[in-house]
Symmetry: C2
Subunit: 140 residues, 2 copies
C-alpha cells in the first residue's frame, strides 16, 4: 500500500511525517482561504496550541507555507500550492478585508518585481492589499 499523499508532501519538503504533522497538513488543506493558529486549534482540537505553533514554524521554514502579517493581530498562513511558490518571482499577492477580517490569496496576481536599491539583500517580499472584499462590498 502506497503511503498517503500528505506523507509524500511532507517528505518532499524534508519534514519527517509524524501523525500530528499529517493531521495538520490535512486540516490546512481544508481551509479555502488563509488560516491562523487559532483556526487550526479549533479545527484540530485534539492537538495542543504549542504543537501547532511549532508545526507552523517548521512548515514555514521548509517552505511548505507562506506567512502573512495582515495587521489583524493574528498571523495568517496559507499552503504553498506548488514547489516554486516560495521563489520571489512567483510570490503572490494577499488581500485583507477590513470589514470581515478575512485574508485571501490572490493566487493569480504575482508580486511585481521592481528595482530594489543597491546594498539590500532581498530574501522575501510581502505584498498585502487592504480594502473590502467582493462579499462585503455587495452587502450595502
Amino acid at each position: 500500500m502506497s503511503e498517503n499523499r500528505f506523507e509524500e508532501i511532507l517528505r518532499q519538503h524534508e519534514i519527517r511525517p509524524t501523525a500530528v504533522r499529517i493531521l495538520l497538513l490535512e486540516t490546512m488543506e481544508r481551509f479555502e482561504n488563509t488560516f491562523s493558529l487559532a483556526d487550526l486549534e479549533t479545527e484540530a482540537d485534539t492537538l495542543d496550541k504549542s504543537s501547532i505553533f511549532r508545526t507552523l514554524a517548521l512548515f514555514a521554514q521548509h517552505h511548505l507555507l507562506h506567512v502573512i502579517e495582515d495587521g489583524s493581530g493574528a498571523t495568517k498562513y496559507c499552503l504553498c500550492h506548488n514547489d516554486h511558490a516560495c521563489r520571489i518571482e512567483e510570490m503572490h499577492v494577499h488581500f485583507h478585508c477590513e470589514i470581515c477580517g478575512k485574508t485571501f490569496c490572490l493566487d493569480n496576481v504575482h508580486v511585481p518585481v521592481i528595482r530594489y536599491p543597491e546594498g539590500y539583500e532581498v530574501r522575501e517580499i510581502n505584498y498585502l492589499i487592504k480594502g473590502r472584499c467582493p462579499a462585503c462590498r455587495s452587502k450595502r
Copy 2:
C-alpha cells in the same frame, strides 16, 4: 507670535493640537527610520503607554503616519512626509532587516501598481521586503 510648526501640521490633519500630541509629533520627527510604540515610550518617557497608543491610532486615522507590520512582533510606524503620501500611487516600500530587526522606509521606491482582480476595493497597499540591510551585510 505664530504657532509652532507641529501645531500647524496637526491642524492640517484635523487633529486638535494638545501638548501630548505636539510632543509626540516632535519626538517622531527625530527618528531616522521607523519607530514602535516602545521606542516612543523610551524617548518620551513622561507619557503613558496608553496615551501613546491612542495618539498613534489617531495619527494613523488622520493619515499623518503609516502603519507597518513587519512581522517582528511590534508594529512599526513612520511619518508621512507629504500630503499625498497616503495615496496609493505614492506609497513607498519598506524593508525589514532580519538580522538587526530595523525597518527602513525606501522613500524613493514606489509601490508598483498592478492589475487588481475585479470586485476588490483597494484602500491601502503594503509592500514589505525582508532580507539583510547594507550595514548587516557588510559585517561578516
